[in-house]
């Protein structure tokens, strides 16, 4: 059987997985936890460097434990970007070494597209409009003429970073998103926040400022502020997603990326899809956050279409955009 080993480490989660055409066979991970504040790229990269050997061998031993032989591994896939430079470089170096040592091809994959493809695989959705929301990214995408096109995106920071920034201001520990969600669920009063949608694009930086002001200047309860923050930011995302679905005439939508675990966001999107007669899909939480399985799975798709990465083309790209990738594994529509 064809197996792929996938390495993911674009941010704070280092994750390695073995995947076959049928299923995710084994996953191992190690998460960097900053002592204070947000992620320090250099520290995260050091964490990955010191944990890589351990996590890779746990994944390999895990696959053996499931009755597979390491001979069956046909390629090494790794996140080529987007992500934090030092982290990307650390993981890419390990991937190159493994590829040379095992004498199997290397496959550099786009992290964002990996989120999309594992979602399509796990949920069985064919051609959805995708809302991809993570720390640094907030994009609405759809497959068109051989590429994943970006229909709309944030003009400044990603929704995840906006949430994390406010969470730090509230002195909540990293990652702040889930803690904001918890507080928000206890909020009842809506406090004014700027709702900025320009055409199909969004802006979130004003949300953080407004939230700080609501706390310091107007002394609103933090539960109410978190509630209002989420309601505003998520409504913007849902609106742009709906507009993209109308424009592309697509009746499926897929949620991807770490912020996708937020239940209120899921609920809004589900309601929107329901009201327009469309279907809403979201994979299990472990495939929403950064994971090695999605990297391995996209690697598998690319390997099958003969799309491998020679070492000299394996440099990382911290700003790798999904629409730079020519999609070789899907039918041109």
């Amino acid at each position: 059987m064809t197996l792929i080993l996938g390495l993911e480490g674009t941010a704070w989660n280092l994750s390695v997985a073995v995947v076959s055409e049928e299923r995710v066979i084994y996953e191992a991970e190690s998460t960097y936890k900053p002592e204070y504040g947000g992620i320090h790229p250099r520290e995260a990269a050091q964490h990955h460097a010191s944990e890589l050997k351990n996590v890779v061998s746990r994944a390999l031993r895990g696959a053996e434990g499931e009755g597979f032989s390491l001979e069956e591994i046909a390629a090494i896939a790794f996140s080529q970007g987007p992500g934090m430079g030092p982290c990307l470089r650390t993981v890419a170096t390990a991937a190159r070494a493994l590829s040379i040592y095992l004498k199997i091809p290397l496959i550099g994959v786009n992290h964002c597209i990996a989120h999309i493809e594992i979602g399509r695989w796990q949920c069985g959705t064919k051609d959805p409009v995708v809302l991809y929301v993570s720390g640094a990214n907030s994009q609405v995408l759809a497959y068109r003429f051989g590429r994943y096109r970006i229909l709309g995106e944030t003009l400044d920071i990603g929704i995840g970073n906006a949430l994390d920034k406010f969470a730090r201001y509230l002195r909540l520990s990293h990652p702040g998103g889930p803690k904001i969600e918890e507080l928000a669920s206890k909020g009842t009063k809506y406090v004014y926040m700027p709702y900025v949608v320009k055409g199909m694009d969004l802006s979130f930086s004003g949300l953080t400022t407004a939230a700080k002001d609501a706390l310091d200047l107007h002394q609103h309860k933090k539960e109410d502020i978190c509630h209002s923050f989420q309601e505003t930011g998520f409504a913007m995302l849902t609106e742009v997603t709906e507009r993209a679905m109308a424009h592309c005439c697509k009746d499926e939508m897929l949620l991807a990326g770490g912020v996708g675990a937020n239940r209120r966001l899921q609920q809004m999107l589900k309601t929107m899809c329901h009201d327009r007669g469309a279907r809403f899909y979201v994979p299990e939480a472990k495939y929403l956050k950064d994971n090695g399985a999605m990297i391995a799975y996209l690697g598998l798709l690319m390997l099958k279409s003969g799309d491998t990465t020679p070492i000299e083309k394996s440099a990382v790209n911290p700003n790798y955009r999904p629409d730079e990738v020519e999609v070789t594994w899907r039918d041109v529509e």
């Binding site: 003429f145 055409g199 199909m200 505003t232 849902t238 679905m245 809004m268 955009r321």
Partner: protein
């Protein structure tokens, strides 16, 4: 002979229902259940107001748009323009005149945001009207204008065989009314290379 009751036409899109009846167009922004009432009502009210404002602003600058008769919380009542959608009748001469008007919009920093041949009507008396300013905003950046023009080209590419020629005619008109046209057209090329934005209906 007098027609007793004209047909009512209803069109539903992502955020509004458009009803055409007795020579009037009623555009009503519909409630979205996914967002809290405070946001929903505010947004629908602001957008309705802003659309009316930009429609009138565009007309003041010399771009034909329907006259607004009434504006309530979530609904605009405007003049019905009799004619054909540009999508059905566009030719080089019309494309060039569209270019002139878009040039005027951009000279005045009005970004339409949904420039397609379905949002332009060629009236029976041969005037080119722009409609659907629901996503429009005021911004002077080259990027915003570039995206605006790019969206228009994409809409041509999707629906018209003589795309290249229509595009050239548009550019001719656009340059005529808008002194900064070259900058924006350069940006359009860049946006095309970036591969951003899918073509729209």
């Amino acid at each position: 002979m007098e027609k007793l009751s004209e047909e009512t036409l209803m069109i539903q899109c992502a955020e509004a229902i458009v009803e055409i009846k007795d020579g009037f167009v009623y555009k009503r922004r519909i409630e979205k259940r996914y967002r809290v009432k405070e946001i929903d009502e505010r947004i629908r009210r602001e957008r309705t107001k802003s659309e009316a404002k930009i429609i009138s602003e565009a007309r003041r600058k010399g771009v034909p748009t329907p006259i607004i008769f009434d504006i309530t919380d979530y609904e605009l009542v405007m003049e019905r323009i009799e004619g054909d959608l540009a999508r059905e009748v566009i030719n080089d001469a019309i494309s060039e005149r569209i270019g002139e008007f878009v040039g005027i919009l951009h000279k005045n920093s009005i970004i339409h945001s949904d420039l397609t041949t379905s949002n332009i009507i060629v009236s029976t008396d041969n005037i080119i009207y722009f409609i659907d300013f629901g996503l429009s905003f005021i911004e002077s950046s080259t990027e915003a204008k570039g995206v605006d023009v790019h969206v228009f080209f994409q809409s041509l590419r999707g629906t018209h065989e003589s795309y290249e020629q229509l595009k050239r005619s548009f550019i001719k008109g656009y340059r005529r009314t808008f002194p900064n046209a070259s900058h924006v057209l350069k940006r359009v090329k860049e946006i095309e290379r970036r591969g951003r934005y899918v073509e729209r209906k």
